[in-house]
Amino acid sequence: MRIHADQEKCCGAGSCVLAAPDVFDQREEDGIVVVLDPAPPAALHDAVREAAAICPAAAITVTD
């Protein structure tokens, strides 16, 4: 699994951080998403898919 987060689209509401805290974080200065682990282990895949599904800005894309 590869993760891409579009920082231009992100509106910083943080849903992804709550859904998958090991994979997503927010930038200190402006709350914009940062990907901590662009190729997370299988155990985290469900959480990442959930994060992508609830991201209000459709900023997270996941490719298998």
Partner: protein, 403 residues
């Protein structure tokens, strides 16, 4: 638009729709009916203007995520939910009624203030405030109005602290915020309330210029990008939004648990369920109950209907959150379900900025309440609870409880 076009046929659904008769926790019966029969339907606003009602989960997400549906309150055709809202938006639009890039520019000045990490770090402080309020509420007594003594002061104290607004003035801004959110406020009343709030916050911004503190208003002043008036408008939005939403989720959420004793027992037995339980209460209750307004900027085909440029659309997030294709047995409260796909905070780039804070406040408020008052119960007959069908944010006007 001609007068003839504005007159509603007698059988069309009017919004805001009446919540009676029906279960006070469910969407208005007419909206729920519409959601069952047609995902996208014609409706009429309170003033006779026609608009579209979007009720299904996927369609609501589609509209709220699509820039062809504008949040700009100054665009012709924008569907206002009250006469007061129309007046207020014409006066001083805030970023929730703007489109990108203007919206993003202003919103991004605030995203860092409400990011998950920062808000999580506030837990001890929020916990302390919650305990303090309950100490005072329960001292030498066994009954109180939960709204006045706990559910409202908690988020009010927190947002005042964050903004750098003196809590001593809470009656002043709680009253104005109530007028702004009442469905029947006249345009003149809404305008007066808005002007007083903005004037108060403008003075506050000026004062912070001389004596800065570490609140959000001071930080906005220090950025030097906005005028005091613009800062005041932004502060007004945060102040009003920070008050009524979390307060009503706390009191209505408590009532929903009291009315579902099996769910209450489950949460008491497994306090670790609280995070999911808060998501479920947000889904089940969805206190933004009159719809999220948008206006189409071009013709869009949605669910077989063509929404024309300039036509208003209301996204009914409350019926979307009861969509059984996404949430099995959607009309049941189930504190153990995975409700994270709810749209109670909206969807798209306008999704609630303060949601990490709302979550922390709700988790702490409910956990503390249930832990400290094991015998919590309603102190009046359920039939006498004053529900807020008359407000833009649903909930209860008061909640007399005993313990």
């Amino acid at each position: 638009m001609t007068t003839a076009e504005r007159t509603a046929p007698p059988d069309t659904l009017t919004v805001p729709a009446s919540r009676a008769p029906g279960c006070p926790f469910d969407p208005a019966p007419a909206v729920a009916d519409a959601a069952r029969t047609e995902p996208i339907t014609r409706a009429t606003l309170w003033d006779g203007t026609p608009c579209w009602l979007v009720t299904g989960h996927q369609d609501v997400r589609t509209v709220l995520g699509d820039p062809r549906f504008s949040a700009d309150g100054l665009r012709p055709g924008f569907p206002f939910l009250t006469a007061g809202a129309r007046e207020v938006i014409g006066q001083k639009p805030t970023f929730i009624r703007m489109d990108d890039p203007g919206h993003a520019k202003l919103r991004r000045m605030l995203t860092a203030e409400f990011m998950v990490k920062k808000v999580e770090a506030m837990r001890p402080e929020v916990q302390h405030l919650a305990d303090d309020l309950l100490d005072r509420m329960t001292a030498g007594r066994n009954s109180a109005d939960l709204v006045r003594e706990f559910a409202l002061p908690l988020p009010s104290l927190v947002i005042c602290l964050l903004l750098g607004v003196p809590y001593e003035d809470h009656e002043f801004f709680q009253e104005r915020s109530g007028i702004l959110l009442a469905l029947r406020s006249t345009p003149a009343e809404a305008k007066a309330a808005l002007d007083e709030l903005v004037e108060y916050l403008t003075r506050l911004a000026q004062a912070k210029r001389e004596r800065p503190d570490d609140g959000i208003i001071s930080r906005l002043v220090a950025r030097g990008e906005l005028s005091d008036g613009e800062i005041a408008s932004m502060g007004r939005l945060l102040l009003v939004a920070g008050h009524e939403t979390t307060a009503n989720m706390t009191s209505l959420g408590t009532l929903a648990l009291l009315r579902n004793p099996d769910q209450l027992a489950r949460l008491r037995a497994e306090p670790a369920l609280i995070k999911g339980a808060v998501e479920e209460l947000l889904r089940y209750l969805t206190i933004v109950h009159n719809g999220v307004p948008r206006v189409a900027t071009e013709d869009v085909v949605l669910g077989g209907s063509t929404i024309r440029a300039g036509e208003g659309v209301l996204c009914m997030i409350n019926s979307a959150n009861r969509d059984a294709t996404v949430f099995p047995e959607a009309d049941a409260l189930d504190v153990a379900r995975d409700a994270r796909r709810h749209v109670a905070f909206g969807f798209g780039v306008h999704q609630c900025l303060g949601q990490p804070l709302a979550r922390v406040e709700l988790q702490i408020a409910l956990t503390t309440l249930l832990r400290r008052l094991p015998d919590l119960r309603l102190a009046i007959p359920y039939e006498e609870v004053p529900f807020r069908g008359d407000m833009q944010i649903y909930g209860v006007h008061s909640l007399p409880v005993a313990w």
